[in-house]
């Protein structure tokens, strides 16, 4: 199980929580699990999300492994100039 921190404005889509726990071993499984459990998150996930894993930002890497102790934070999909 991994604990995922959502950003504040996703709270309403996740039963008022900003920390949710799902079964996942990588980024892809995490997104699928989040979408399945909280359908309200699906529009944002489809728009694009990044994942901060132990402080580092991953933009789209599905198979990034997530350890049970990892700090996992969902972030909007990011772009730069």
């Amino acid at each position: 199980m991994v604990t995922v921190t959502l950003w504040g404005s996703l709270r309403d889509a996740a039963e008022g929580e900003t920390e949710v726990t799902v079964e996942a071993r990588n980024f892809k499984e995490l997104l699928d699990a989040l979408s399945a459990r909280y359908p309200g998150l699906t529009p944002q996930i489809e728009r694009g999300v990044s994942l901060a894993l132990d402080g580092r930002i991953y933009r789209e890497a599905w198979f990034t492994e997530i350890g049970p102790e990892s700090e996992v934070v969902l972030m909007p999909y990011m772009k730069g100039g």
Binding site: G8, D54, I57, A61, T64, E71, P76, M78, K79, G81
Partner: protein
């Protein structure tokens, strides 16, 4: 996950100031930029633009234009493919308007003719029947219920119902109990801020040359930050297979984020398809200002509580951005970046995006961060003034460091903010005396930095020199830094490596040159491609020597026997290996393909001294120093160049640059005379101090450096003005009339 394989003191090439390989082409006028290519049979393209800020298009009649001798094709939005993805539709609609024109200068039709004069005449013969609609250009006005609606049905699900339909997105970040935090403060300051839209201001207007043949194959030459992105967008808009469209990036005359999308490229392709001839389109400066991306303008509210000894107890910010007529996510980057420099127990950062009748925002260096951090750093500074505390001490006291939970969520690993603040504190600039009407301002800055999709090929030439093929346009010396990293890893001289930028048919997909990603991600892929080639070279040598592959090591450009075989064979140089490669298995190349992760965030601190003329309100920057963490500066000259160039763009944004709209929704200053970017005589020397706190996500510790430097100048100058003139402005730019008014109002 520490990827660092080479530390300080172990570099031979990286960290030196070698000459860039494209230098001679660029000082002799030989380098070919977007507008410089000429091909036989070429037509000139031109774009018809909307005279209205907002209007319905009832009909477009192109018959008279087509009848003009010398006109070879006219295209409208109907010549683009049917699209189903919202983002793609927006990009296509921005290139040529569909049902409505959404801003003054919005493209409506394209013409290709035998020459520019004929093309211009033809534009006047296109009859567009418009019904003008009410317009809105200010962010606060656009958010109010009852505002003219720019586009319907674009609201994301979590936008509060009290806003107008123009509000497309809402986000909130942060942690802790903000109200409880404010209760612990000795003083709370809450202020409203406004920042104007600033244009990236690259000196080269957008330009392209498209050539499509009637078998559906096309070549496109253009100035862009990402040829692969241009291919993806254009092939979708023109309904082409990607393989049929080869995009070559010209030399690029500046981008800063503004050349990360398409404007004229699909129009040129459509005109070429229709006319059967190559078509070149070059924007005028007026078109660049009216119809390509400036950054967002913003309105924000920041509230921060502090104890009398300078500890921040809570912070709450609201950022309202407008990014023009199409939705964008820049507001969320601003809301996330706003408090990155602080270790806060309680913080809430909210953002909204609103549509307006302005050109579609394009990324601009650390998109969204400068205006948010300007507001935060202004309030922090006002609190230090309130308590009479030292501004750098207060920032150090509250500074984010390793294991700080960032306001945007994650926990920081090794970051350079404290080292950067300490360097600023110790620098002679910070203690230098100031004269009358002079003041010193401080601000922190931050950008996330990204990695992204990257592939690099390294080919070993038959004489033992090396070719690197990469896919990101060189905007500021990246050919040099990539060659340096290849030379470093291979243990060969820099002069033995030549790096070229591939067209889209010569390499796999590479993301655009954005997010300060090139030296980090392309560098990482280059190092890995070199390692791949080294493994192959060691394998060949192992066969020659008849020993195990893993008994051969690579050192300083030589394969050497190691372990029990150490000393048994004479080391083989890369040149010797190359010379016999046809005997040992054929050509040798290294490859690496990755969606790079592990980009390290970059912090900067700027010190600015200004003198404000109390008679005119004019602000002169008299001394400026940039401190920034580069992780590892691969080519220090070009790292300094990024720090200086970003700082000066920020200075322009703080003091002069702004999009000024009239009541009619028309941009009033669409030229370099009235949109005034800093010139040489406006500026002092920009001193630089590079800090190197290695990024664990890169083999050499490299962090992106391109963007952070534009962030601090906005607040650093505002904070300096407040100390020099005794008035604090809450609006940018701080043009002389505004400062003079503030001085007069104070009395």
């Amino acid at each position: 996950m520490n990827k660092i394989t080479r530390e300080k003191g172990q570099f031979k090439v990286v960290g030196t100031r070698v000459k860039r390989p494209d230098g001679i082409d660029k000082v002799t006028g030989r380098a070919q930029y977007g507008a410089d290519l000429v091909v036989p049979g070429m037509l000139t393209g031109a774009i018809l633009r909307s005279p209205h800020a907002h209007a319905t298009i009832n009909s477009i009649d192109t018959s008279e234009a087509l009848a003009l001798p010398g006109v070879k094709a006219v295209v409208t939005r109907a010549d683009f493919a049917a699209l189903d993805d919202d983002e793609m539709i927006d990009i296509a609609d921005n290139c040529l308007a569909r049902d409505k024109v959404l801003y003054h200068g919005h493209a409506v039709a394209g013409v290709a003719a035998k020459d520019a004069q004929t093309a211009r005449k033809a534009l006047k013969l296109i009859k567009v029947d418009y019904t003008p609609l009410p317009h809105v250009t200010d962010v606060d006005a656009a958010m109010k219920p009852g505002a003219p609606v720019v586009q319907s049905g674009r609201q994301e699900e979590n936008v509060q119902p009290e806003h107008s339909e123009n509000v497309t997105g809402y986000c909130e970040f942060g942690h802790g109990d903000v109200e409880a935090g404010f209760a612990k403060a000795d003083h709370i300051i809450e202020r409203d801020f406004k920042t104007a839209a600033a244009h990236q201001g690259y000196i080269e207007p957008h330009a392209c040359l498209a050539s499509m043949t009637n078998d559906g194959k096309a070549d496109l030459w253009c100035c862009t930050q990402g040829q692969f992105n241009v291919r993806s967008l254009c092939s979708a808009i023109l309904d082409m297979e990607a393989s049929q469209l080869r995009v070559t990036a010209s030399e690029i005359g500046g981008g800063f984020g503004g050349k990360t999308t398409v404007f004229i490229e699909p129009v040129a392709l459509a005109l070429s398809r229709k006319s059967g001839r190559p078509v070149k389109i070059v924007m005028t400066r007026d078109e660049v200002f009216r119809a390509t991306g400036p950054t967002v303008s913003s309105s924000s509210t920041v509230k921060i509580g502090m104890t009398k000894d300078g500890r921040i107890t809570a912070a709450h910010a609201k950022f309202r951005y407008q990014g023009g007529a199409f939705p964008c996510a820049t507001y969320s980057f601003g809301a996330q970046a706003a408090f990155a420099a602080y270790d806060l127990e309680a913080v809430k950062s909210e953002g909204w995006n609103a549509l307006t009748n302005r050109p579609k925002e394009a990324a601009y260096r650390a998109p969204g961060a400068p205006m948010a951090i300007y507001a935060v750093e202004s309030v922090v500074d006002e609190l230090t003034q309130h308590f009479g505390l030292d501004p750098l001490e207060v920032r150090l006291k509250n500074a984010a460091r390793e294991n700080t939970k960032a306001a945007y969520g994650p926990t920081f690993d090794q970051i350079g903010l404290v080292a950067t603040l300490e360097a600023a504190q110790k620098h002679p600039h910070y203690s230098a005396p100031l004269g009358e009407n002079q003041g010193r301002g401080v601000s922190c800055g931050f950008w996330f930095n990204f990695g992204g999709n990257t592939c690099v090929t390294m080919n070993l030439n038959d004489d033992g020199t090396v070719g690197i093929t990469e896919g990101n346009p060189d905007i500021g010396g990246s050919r040099a830094s990539i060659s340096m990293m290849a030379a470093e890893e291979l243990g060969i001289p820099y002069s033995d490596v030549r790096t070229i930028i591939a067209d889209t048919s010569s390499l796999g997909h590479n993301d655009v040159t954005d997010g300060s990603r090139v030296t980090f991600a392309v560098g990482l892929a280059t190092i890995e491609a070199a390692r791949d080639a080294i493994r192959k070279m060691c394998g060949r040598v192992a066969k020659i020597w008849g020993i195990d592959e893993d008994a051969v090591i690579w050192e300083d450009g030589y394969a050497k026997p190691s372990g029990p075989n150490a000393g048994d064979f004479e080391p083989m140089s890369i040149k010797e290996i190359a010379a016999i490669s046809s005997n040992t298995g054929g050509p040798i190349a290294g490859h690496y393909e990755v969606n790079a992760d592990g980009a390290g965030v970059s912090f900067g601190v700027h010190l600015a001294d200004v003198e404000v003329d109390p008679e005119t309100g004019y602000t002169q920057v008299i001394r400026y120093t940039v401190f920034q963490d580069a992780g590892k500066a691969v080519h220090p000259d070009y790292v300094e160049g990024q720090m200086q160039g970003g700082a000066v763009q920020g200075i322009g944004w703080a003091l002069n640059e702004e999009y000024i709209y009239g009541e009619d929704g028309v941009l009033q200053n669409a030229g370099f005379l009235d949109y005034r970017v800093p010139v040489a005589s406006d500026l002092p020397e920009i001193d630089t101090v590079i800090l190197e706190i290695p990024n664990p996500g890169h083999p050499y510790g490299v962090r992106g450096v391109g963007e952070t430097s534009i962030v601090p100048p906005l607040a650093a100058l505002s904070n300096a003005v407040s100390r020099a003139a005794g008035v604090r402005l809450h609006e940018l730019p701080m043009s002389p009339p505004k400062i003079l008014k503030a001085i007069t109002d104070r009395g």
